[in-house]
Amino acid sequence: MSLDRPRQLELFSRMLRIRKFEEALIAHHPVGHLSIGQEAAIAGACIALRDDDYVTGTHRSHGHPIGKGADIAPLMAEIFGKKTGICKGLGGSMHLTDTTKGLIGESAIVGGGLPLATGAALSAQTRGTDQVSLCFFGDGAANQGTFGESLNMASIWKLPVIFFCENNGYAVTTSVAKSHGQPDIARRGDGYAIPGVIVDGQDAEAVYEATREAVERARSGGGPTLIEAKTYRFGEHAHSLAIPISYRSDEEINHYKTERDPVTLYRAVLAARGLGADVEAIEADVDRIMDEAVQFARESPEPELQDMLDCMFSNPINYPPRFEGLTEDA
């Protein structure tokens, strides 16, 4: 079934929250790997999931919790490095993880999340729940050994996992054309008997549709799916990262910004469906959320050494060790 109107608006709202969250960062705390340009791929996939479905993500981590519906303020505070951050200021921009929304870690080790998502699916299957697991990974991550290893295990055990590739065409300065034997990552699924689907990552509802199908297959015991969303990052690999070489053309960048902006495109779709007023209400609402989040983050306290120590072990044993000199420093 296709998205009903409230869900369409929620999808747009999540996309817009990703966009505005990162615009707020650029304005107030410019750091990190931004997802601007990839909002439809992220939110379109997440909207097909339940709150209790699992998600793993990447260093480009801001969009995933927002797409999954996490509260904004603790995410903002995290990037500001504050104690009120979702990870107490210990994880930061590459690790925005809200477990209450099913996120189980954003891996800044490229490719590191693939086995974790596969393991979450194995866990759901073993515990006999009908949860599914969705793994966000980049085109570059598809060249990490964990990719083939994880797809193969998901296939032999028919695990309820969706491998969702945000193919934005580049890994830092390295294009897919120069780093992949052939450009379609979805085509790698066949070697493991996993259906591979290519979808327009700038079309929010197309992404939703592809993901919904994969989720249904997973929940009903049909096993994994590999989805490749062709998308694009509008900004540099990481905000304010100096890149000494030119690796993509201004034409290309401008084309995406002007013709293929997922937020603009979906806004137009909804407006054409007569939802313009709701969209404007959402826009006002999202602006307010971001302002409040920035203020919350600004005013929050920094974490202390003890917070760090408290997060090291679930069952501390002789920890923290006095001899480490840490407590003297503290």
Partner: protein, 323 residues
């Protein structure tokens, strides 16, 4: 029941621990290659195959799969079989298992146990003969155990399975066959982080790591014939190791010999020596001695291999050198 025991081998004790914990807690499961071949075959009759995952040869990712399962409600035991394969899983162990709880501000737990066994004397040669316990010592967030007896193996593995943090357990193939009376009580546990004085003595402290316990006890008996009473401290847990037990013994004896099957440079023995040189310096009467494997790869030829590891003789000589 409480205090009754049964005679079993080290490997049987490990499988008993796994069996008991799988019965006790349905979240406990195993994953590894050909696990039936490495002693777990009996479990296949008792438990759903879903809890016994025969993995493809993908150490990096099946370890990651176990970590992902641990994050989401299971308590997996990973059997890496030969310890020389652990490097393939080291990224998942170090960058994920050891860091995920910290990086998420304590939102996640990582109750995973990772077993790996070191091989000796079978001509398996350099790519199958590593003793990589020092490798993980430097990583905050991991616990590392290396039991030397069947009883300690059962008790420590059960503690590891019940622990909510990642625990690595290192075994040695020549320990698997050692038999002794082992407590059958299903709640018999050996605490992680506690050393065990396997022999009391006042003249010298011998700290032993993993399987070196047995050569160390033999050396202590030989020394006793010359009237030298060695205290044998079985470390059992390598990280965090029981510094109090070591320092207390050295305070009594003033002499320290550390025995470790792994290569000497950058070994667990080095860490213990460093801690004693910092914290126990004033009670040290003689130079610390490390008896370990020299910096050479393990050869196929068994006559050569035999000469590399700590022996009763080398341990006794090291003690005599500081009397």
């Amino acid at each position: 029941m409480r205090n009754s025991t049964r005679k079993m081998t080290y490997l049987q004790a490990i499988n008993e621990a796994q069996r008991e914990e799988m019965h006790r807690d349905e979240r406990v499961m195993m994953i590894g290659e050909d696990i039936a071949v490495y002693g777990a075959q009996a479990l296949f009759e008792e438990f759903d195959e879903k809890r016994l995952r025969n993995a493809p040869i993908s150490e990096g990712s099946f370890t990651g799969v176990a970590i992902g399962a641990a994050l989401t409600g299971l308590r997996p035991i990973v059997d890496l079989t030969n310890a020389s394969f652990i490097y393939l899983a080291s990224d998942q162990i170090i960058n994920q298992a050891a860091k995920l709880r910290f990086m998420t501000g304590g939102q996640l737990k990582v109750p995973v146990v990772i077993r790996a066994c070191s091989y000796y004397g079978n001509g398996t040669a350099a790519q199958h003969a590593d003793r990589p316990w020092p490798f993980f010592m430097n990583v905050p967030g991991l616990k590392v155990v290396a039991p030397a007896t069947a009883t300690d193996a059962k008790g420590l593995l059960k503690s590891a399975i019940r622990d909510d943090d990642p625990v690595l357990m290192f075994e040695e193939i020549n320990l698997w066959g050692k038999r002794e009376e082992v407590p059958v009580d299903e709640d018999f546990l050996i605490p992680i982080g506690k050393a065990d004085i396997k022999r009391e003595g006042s003249d010298v402290t011998i700290v032993t790591i993993a399987g070196c316990l047995h050569a160390s006890l033999a050396a202590a008996e030989a020394l006793a014939k010359d009237g030298v009473e060695a205290e044998v401290v079985d470390l059992r847990t390598l990280v965090p190791f029981d510094r109090e037990a070591v320092l207390t013994s050295v305070a009594k004896t003033g002499r320290l010999v550390i025995v470790d099957n792994s290569h000497k440079v950058g070994s667990v023995a080095s860490e213990i020596a460093a801690v004693v040189a910092e914290e126990g310096f004033d009670s040290l009467r003689k130079p610390i001695q490390r008896v370990a494997t020299p910096s050479v790869q393990i050869p196929y030829n068994r006559t050569l291999e035999k000469q590399l590891y700590p022996t009763k003789e080398r341990i006794a000589d090291a003690v005599r050198a500081i009397l």
